[in-house]
Amino acid sequence: MNPPRASFFSQSWLILLLGLLFGGALVAVHTNLSPVIAANQRAETLRQLPGLVLPAAELAGAEITVSGDRIAVRRASGETLDLAVAESEVAGHQLYTLAAAGGAPLGYVVRGIGSGYADDIDLLVGLSGDLERLTGLFVLSQKETPALGDEITKEPFRRWFAGAPATAPLVVVKSAAEAESAPGRVLALTAATISSRSVCDIVNATVAAVRPQLAAAASAAAPAEEGETDGGR
């Protein structure tokens, strides 16, 4: 009988070798494709920004074009709204500040990542310019259970987030009547409570981390702007 160690290697050498080869191949693929995928995700993120900050009525039938850090929203009426996007990082979260060209911020969009049922959920959450309420939710990537957990990407679930207060954590509830009774309540998806709760946890953690810093920055900027205005008089 072979000694245990020799037996282990004689049984598993092919798997170990394949693991090394396939691992190397995946590293090469990841290294080469990651920049392309990141660029795709950034373009997708920028395309979603107007919908996460502006009211849905303003975007009905609108065509959105992204060019660098500018977003052009061409409304059905023919009028074009030019938006400037400023990217920064706050409390470890990617922050997109959306403003009309030369104007005050219209709102903020923050990227949050956290654990879902099957894999990480990567999402964008919109915050109003005064930081008082959420203005929307978009799921950038997820691998939740098809036809159950992946319903988090769809409008019937996302609608609970637009208009919810940003000052208190969202609460997941299981009855529609309870969800309708007050803002800030999110109706859990049937048979996908963990996915629903995961999204709310990610949104709560993201807003809790980013909002105080944005509020502090806004209040620090306000007196300075007043001073500049006074000085101008």
Binding site: M1, N2, S7, S10, Q11, S12, L14, I15, L18, G19, F22, A25, L26, V29, H30, L33, V36, I37, N40, Q41, E44, A118, S141, Q142, K143, E144, T145, P146, A147, D150, T153
Partner: protein, 217 residues
């Protein structure tokens, strides 16, 4: 018996020829209609032709790559570890397919969502590795994988054709039905996948049973 004593039977290179494997995968042993394998994507991503064909392309890439790879190492496989090797091989190529889609077909990658990683558990692939890849040479394994990929294309393409035309009046997004024809919205919803698959299976079974019925008459 000690595990180390187990050995795979000698490779059966005198099995079906490459041409026979290729033909068998397309119609006689069609993975969708004759073997009822790969039902998850058949039902889940066939609401329209574009996602269905993207799924076929991704599955074909994994099937061909895994089958040829398994064939190349078939003499080194140990019987009790072969499923582990198949899974490792398939998972690697599925990850590569997933990353390629995310890089070069991003909207389709988003639309297909978790169904691309789920190719790992597609029974067509592991079945071909077991039936052909682990027993025959790389050329035969390649022909077998291409034939089965074409069979899978026929399966998904036919279900998606029925669903998209009846449900949306389009094919590949192009209008094919006049506006006056009512749309059967149910066909692009989950029940529509079951209805379309059942009707097509019934049609295939009816067609295949015809010579037998004639002979009986």
């Amino acid at each position: 018996m000690a595990v180390a004593e187990l050995e795979l039977p000698a490779a059966v290179d005198d099995g079906p020829t490459a041409a026979e494997r290729f033909i068998a995968g397309i119609v006689p042993e069609n993975p969708t209609f004759r073997q009822l394998l790969g039902m998850c994507p058949t039902l889940a991503v066939t609401a329209a032709m574009k996602p269905a064909l993207t799924m076929v392309a991704a599955t074909a890439f994994v099937l061909i790559s895994a089958n040829v790879m398994v064939s190349l190492i078939r003499h080194l496989l140990k019987p009790h570890l072969r499923i582990l090797v198949f899974t490792l091989t398939i998972a690697t190529f599925v990850t590569i397919a997933d990353r390629l889609l995310a890089a070069y077909l991003y909207p389709m990658s988003v639309a297909l969502g978790p169904y691309v990683p789920l190719i790992i558990v597609n029974c067509i692939i592991i079945a071909r590795c077991e039936v052909c890849g682990s027993k025959q040479g790389p050329f035969t394994a390649f022909a077998d994988a291409v034939g089965n990929s074409l069979g899978f294309l026929i399966g998904l393409g036919s279900v998606a054709t029925v669903r998209e035309i009846l449900g949306m009046g389009t094919w590949f997004g192009l209008p094919v039905l006049p506006a006056v024809v009512p749309r059967w919205v149910i066909m692009v919803m989950p029940p529509g996948a079951f209805i379309a698959l059942a009707l097509l299976l019934a049609l295939v079974n009816w067609y295949q049973a015809r010579p037998k019925r004639r002979a009986e008459v």
